[in-house]
Symmetry: D3
Subunit: 164 residues, 6 copies
Amino acid sequence: MGRFQPYHLGHQSVLKKIAQEVDEIVVGIGSAQDSHTLENPFTAGERLTMIWCALKELDVTCYVIPIEDIRRNSVWVSHVISMTPKFEVVYSNNPLVVQLVTEAGIEVRNLPMYRRDAYSGTRIRAMMLAGQDWEMLVPKSVARVIKEIDGPKRLRNISKDDNE
Amino acid sequence: MGRFQPYHLGHQSVLKKIAQEVDEIVVGIGSAQDSHTLENPFTAGERLTMIWCALKELDVTCYVIPIEDIRRNSVWVSHVISMTPKFEVVYSNNPLVVQLVTEAGIEVRNLPMYRRDAYSGTRIRAMMLAGQDWEMLVPKSVARVIKEIDGPKRLRNISKDDNE
Amino acid sequence: MGRFQPYHLGHQSVLKKIAQEVDEIVVGIGSAQDSHTLENPFTAGERLTMIWCALKELDVTCYVIPIEDIRRNSVWVSHVISMTPKFEVVYSNNPLVVQLVTEAGIEVRNLPMYRRDAYSGTRIRAMMLAGQDWEMLVPKSVARVIKEIDGPKRLRNISKDDNE
Amino acid sequence: MGRFQPYHLGHQSVLKKIAQEVDEIVVGIGSAQDSHTLENPFTAGERLTMIWCALKELDVTCYVIPIEDIRRNSVWVSHVISMTPKFEVVYSNNPLVVQLVTEAGIEVRNLPMYRRDAYSGTRIRAMMLAGQDWEMLVPKSVARVIKEIDGPKRLRNISKDDNE
Amino acid sequence: MGRFQPYHLGHQSVLKKIAQEVDEIVVGIGSAQDSHTLENPFTAGERLTMIWCALKELDVTCYVIPIEDIRRNSVWVSHVISMTPKFEVVYSNNPLVVQLVTEAGIEVRNLPMYRRDAYSGTRIRAMMLAGQDWEMLVPKSVARVIKEIDGPKRLRNISKDDNE
Amino acid sequence: MGRFQPYHLGHQSVLKKIAQEVDEIVVGIGSAQDSHTLENPFTAGERLTMIWCALKELDVTCYVIPIEDIRRNSVWVSHVISMTPKFEVVYSNNPLVVQLVTEAGIEVRNLPMYRRDAYSGTRIRAMMLAGQDWEMLVPKSVARVIKEIDGPKRLRNISKDDNE
């Protein structure tokens, strides 16, 4: 479960490691309804395309599923369960996810480690805005998807000042 | 795009035929938020599992994506576009879908033919309720999924009379 | 307050008569979020265009305002008040509207009479579906708007049988 | 859990019997957001007042809680849990409630018997509409609440024909 | 009307004083749909249990009612009225509540005084997070409820840093 | 498209200039559902009244239409189209609006210049709060509307400190 704004090499490394522990992975794309904001520039469909392309490079069975926000923490776990194939373990470092899933009596494991200072959506979006070179932080196929929709330009456009 | 309550051999036959015309197929699971009703007994997650299992028997690249209802016809096409990878043609016989997609300037093709009198979700749900033999109307792997969650029993339970 | 699917000569006659009693009229377009259904074929924008064109033929100050459904009768009057200029009297024959507005302590008057058997949205939509001559039931300018968007064809398209 | 449109002697008899089995009762008022319709004429606040008055006649600890519809069966149990004090058993004859609560792993018991042909919200609303004598079907204190807000008149008003 | 995150001795003191002025009190639990956040850690059901327990210590008739946010200030008063028994005076210091209720023509009174620097939900939640002794700031029975669900641990869990 | 909190001489000057380029103007009132906040003190109906009054001073055909937020950028353009008469060009300086409308293939033009440092809703609301003289920044007829509903007092009331 993540927002994948955008999908990057940190995510890729995590999925590779999880793939060694389990047979099938359900990847939930959170805040699926959001797009065209500085925090969430890409639509769920665009993010899904990125992930799908990147997963082709791996050898693992993945269900990739957009999950719209339901804005009520108390029903969020039920909401996710209703949208996904049956799962037995949840991998997450998000404290709220860990708490909600634990209260629901489902096993949670910490995400495998990766270099969070290097690979982070926040950092990549900042580099796109600044016109810096973000491409080596995402899988090659993902870079292609982002360039096709000209993601950095979209980000720069929506960050403009009203009064320019 | 369909509700797939449940996924049956008619759907399977349609996907096989479309697979001969295109490279990739996006399968949208409509009314994803609905479940546990006589019209929509299965959750989006359960339907997704059915479709995924059945597609393993075919040789075709499919994106299977739950689409929640947005309850405004005028924005429905934009909603679907935001949740899915880019597509060029829509296959549908649903008159409302055909009209909305056509007004949005996107190409629509009729679904390939199959025996609608034999294969239909409505008929299969009625057979489940009546305790009749519905299994030969769905792919074998789908029948397994439905039996694992005891779908027919769920249907019969929610159809009981309040006053019994 | 009405759905105006479509605006017809009955509506026109009512507004003419009300115009003799008051200085300004607020016309609320109800169920503004609905369109492309057999009951509500036209968008709020299309209905607003119809009404605006028809009102040019009259000599009366009208505010025409789309009102989205709020799906809670108990807050509906407050919702309408928040979306409209201040009003003092409500004209309506709809029993629910009469009851809600009366409970809120606002004066309600019955709509002036017109030939309801002849002029009704339901009847006009049925005539459009049947390919009959509906044009003399609406103001000339409204007929032009409807033909420009080919309203009858939209209605016929969305009424088709799935299995045709 | 019920809609209590209105609260009647059948409900009262059921609560009396349940009170012999448990220490505390949570009474959920379903479809709390609905009012002023033929099916749901009374607001949640009005229904809560009826129940509260009727419970004074009994000797039992009751939490009476309005529950708004969440329109997704798959999260409904979580929604109810989040709005209510902790409970251990659910009493219901509603087949959907029984199914959802059972799937969530919570114990369900059938409601104690009462004369359903005599005491039913549907029947009482029909009698109110017809101007018949409904008062002996509800607790005396509830009759007082209904008469104070002139419930039968509200029902008759919203049931009027548009064209009268 | 308050969020009661959690219910504390300040609330208790206010209710005691109001009880001397009126016969019955309606206690609305605001933002009922929220839980598991730093601002709103407890569900409406948990907060209702706290209040109910604390009120047993007092001698006053209270209706305790969860009120979900409706996210439109212009209909908020109608929303509250629909969910509650009839009331005549509103006690509140919240400037928005005072303004909305006043515009609706309902009498508003200021809350009786209590030591706000000492008793405040914000302060108690901060003490829970810091592992300080918060218990003497809430009624004894409320402390028991909070410890049973291990409220401070929930708060600390959801406040953890993602990257720990 | 703007929020018009409140409508001021900058807006008036912009509409005058646009009126020289086009025949008809559609004015969308954004965030129509909001009111009684420091950012959005006025209801859609109040803002509509302001605009209508101010436009009487001009000689231009304007459709003034409240647009409720739909909280999904990906469907926002479709939403606006469904609520408005057909338009061909969008005038906006808002970067998000420019991006969304451009992606939808509709022509966008920059708003004509006016003195933004002098005329801005933010500045006028701050002056109202501070009790300064804001009236010369809005059209005379708008000042009358605002004074009739005592807008500055509403702003000051909702900005009070809880603990005063």
